[in-house]
């Protein structure tokens, strides 16, 4: 979060110079989300394995993340937002990462379980 001070100096302009998304972009993103939904259902029924490790869960999560990113960037206009907004979004994801990873350092390395 310490990078804010640079952010605002370099961008004296205000966010309200607003980018109005085109209807075509929205339709395109909607289509991509529908395809993603179909893809994730289809992938769930395939047994995807590499070297004995099932890749179904990572694939489902990657598709979900791509979909979520599309929503964040286009529906929520983060693509055209200030750096501060982008940093805010990233910090949210980063902190969720802290919670999940550091918790899993315990659950995945327990010798006694």
């Amino acid at each position: 979060m310490t990078a804010h001070q640079q952010t605002e100096h370099q961008q004296p302009h205000h966010e309200s110079v607003h980018h109005i998304g085109s209807l075509f972009t929205y339709a395109l993103i909607f289509g991509a989300l529908l395809i993603g939904t179909g893809l994730t259902v289809w992938a769930a029924f395939q047994n995807i394995e590499v070297g004995g490790i099932s890749l179904n869960a990572p694939i489902a999560l990657i598709i979900a993340t791509v979909k979520a990113t599309l929503v964040v960037l286009y529906f929520m206009h983060v693509k055209d937002s200030s750096r501060l907004t982008k940093i805010t979004v990233i910090s949210g994801v980063f902190w969720l990462g802290i919670l999940l990873t550091l918790t899993m350092t315990d659950f995945l390395t327990r010798a006694w379980h």
Partner: protein
């Protein structure tokens, strides 16, 4: 450092400003529906003072019980409820909102040169939410209390306890949203409401500290909210999340609980550190040493604070590899804290130190926080923690940080900005006496507890072997002195509201935008938006040159 012990003495006679935020409207409605951050700060202050004394009564019960080795004053069940309610009241309904919701609320807009916080209605809403949550907490206490400890460990809280767990959990959950809204308001205000010229590195360190604490409030609090919801659901509807009989893992509860509750320690201490930064520089009449180091150390504490939570769980059965990582990172948190202590000390060097009450509290803070912080390192060490955890050593450690640190910082800040909030000076002599009583009483209460803990006295029992009685009697005696030290300000501060000397806009000859407006400030803080042209703490060049 100057050799003579001197005070700032206000010799000029000032008159109260004709119009200010306190006399803008006298009706009760104007207070209950106010959107003025200064009035909301006062509402918060009254509310948390009440809960401080509720928690204090519980603490007195605990100390009185421990006066004698036998569990004779309180039954063990009652004792469990007493220390639980002490913890719940003090942590969730006093310490978390203490400095941020009162002083932070009052001062941040003024320090950055704004008319108000970004979202005044949300600010008022947060106070109402807090009051509702606190009422749940009180209701839980009155209708039988809760005995799980403030930590609500599962499965004790979800299955075994027969007390008001759900009611208390809901109260904390609700109050948590008050904290989230306060943090949200601060973050947005500090980003978007600064006066022209008020750049990030011209912000007072008080504001930096609150920014860091707000990050924790916003990112940590929701996790305990959902955790407490799960506890309440599991208890009320017997669903299985943490229940080992269904394969659930109680240690997961501890992870989720401490993910918030460890950083919450920094919600409690960071704003206090902000207060100390302001007071040390004002009463040294000297520019703060290492401004950027202090500013960044606040942010570093907020970030590192999220990486160390499992040091509360070393003996809970977590993986030893995870414990190693958490232990190592825990040591890292000491670095930014030490940076602050060194910088405050360096600020005193060759300053013209004045010994007014806020400075006494600040000295107390620096010493006691250092002890609290250093004993924290004992507990971060894996091997030693096994011996010391769940003993009075840990009780003493966190009271040194929470009371020796935050409560002293709170009192420090209240005295320092009292003239700004009320327009009148507190009386210096009783204030110094109370600062002294608090310091002496505090050390007498908790220093013996370090020894008791080292000797192995476990926490949360109402009886103990007779050989520990001397130390416990000392501790209880100290607690009574401490209680007098806390009660005295109630008397002379209220007295000063009517009879105190009129302070004038800047009794401490301090820098900072909040001192440039009248005391008490007008409803919109400044008659015209200030323009900031120089860095903070510019004591050398106050007159004339920039």
């Amino acid at each position: 450092m100057s050799t003579a012990v001197t005070d700032v003495v206000v010799t000029e006679t000032h008159v109260m400003p004709e119009e200010h935020y306190l006399n803008a409207d006298h009706s009760l409605k104007s207070w209950l529906l106010t959107q003025d951050h200064k009035r909301i700060a006062i509402l918060y202050m009254l509310t948390i003072t009440f809960f401080f004394f509720v928690g204090g009564i519980m603490a007195s019960l605990v100390r009185l019980e421990l006066l004698t080795p036998a569990g004779d004053l309180l039954e063990s069940d009652t004792y469990n409820k007493a220390f639980t309610m002490h913890g719940v009241m003090m942590i969730f309904f006093f310490l978390i909102p203490s400095v941020p919701a009162t002083l932070g609320n009052f001062l941040i807009p003024m320090m950055i040169g704004a008319k108000d916080l970004a979202f005044p209605k949300i600010n008022l809403l947060s106070w109402y939410i807090f009051v509702v949550g606190a009422c749940f907490g009180l209701a839980a206490m009155i209708t039988g209390g809760v005995d799980t400890g403030w930590t609500f460990y599962a499965p004790l809280s979800t299955t075994y306890s027969n007390t008001n767990v759900i009611l208390t959990a809901v109260g904390i959950l609700i109050a948590g949203f008050a904290s989230i809204f306060t943090g949200l308001n601060f973050i947005v205000t500090i980003h978007k409401m600064r006066a022209p010229g008020q750049t990030w590195f011209r912000l007072p360190l008080f504001v930096w500290a609150h920014y860091a604490a707000s990050i924790i409030m916003v990112l940590g609090t929701p996790v305990i909210a959902i955790t407490l919801i799960l506890v309440a659901l599991e208890r009320g509807f017997h669903i299985g999340i943490f229940d080992p009989r269904l394969g659930g893992d109680p240690i997961l509860f501890q992870h989720m609980f401490w993910f918030y509750s460890h950083p919450a320690v920094y919600i409690m201490i960071l704003p206090g550190m902000g207060v100390i930064s302001e007071v040390v520089t004002t009463f040294s009449h000297k520019r703060i040493f290492g401004y950027k180091a202090i500013a960044f150390s606040s942010v570093a504490i907020a970030v590192f604070g999220f990486l160390v939570w499992a040091h509360h769980m070393f003996i809970a059965g977590i993986s030893m590899y995870a414990a190693l990582i958490f232990s190592l990172i825990s040591f890292l948190v000491a670095i930014p804290s030490a940076i602050k202590v060194f910088n405050w000390s360096a600020t005193l060097y060759k300053g013209s130190v004045r010994w007014n009450t806020p400075m006494l509290y600040a000295f107390g803070f620096i010493g006691l926080f250092t002890i609290g912080g250093l004993t924290g390192l004992f507990l971060a060490a894996l091997g030693l923690d096994v011996h010391l955890t769940e003993t009075y050593f840990i009780v003493a450690h966190f009271h040194y940080v929470m009371v020796g640190g935050m409560v002293l910082a709170y009192l420090c800040g209240i005295h320092h900005w009292w003239p700004k909030m009320t327009g009148r000076l507190y009386p210096e002599l009783p204030a110094k006496l109370s600062a002294l009583l608090v310091f002496v009483g505090f050390n007498l209460t908790f220093m013996p507890q370090f020894i008791l803990g080292y000797l192995g006295m476990p926490r949360r029992y109402h009886s103990y072997p007779p050989e520990w009685q001397v130390l416990n009697v000392l501790s209880t005696a100290g607690a009574s002195i401490l209680a007098i030290g806390f009660l005295l300000p109630m008397l002379y501060l209220v007295w000063s509201l009517k009879y105190g000397q009129v302070a004038g806009p800047n009794p401490w000859e301090s820098t900072g935008l909040e001192w440039e407006t009248s005391s008490p400030p007008p409803s919109h803080n400044f008659h015209e938006t200030p323009v900031v042209t120089s860095e903070p703490y510019n004591y050398g060049e106050k007159e004339g040159e920039v």
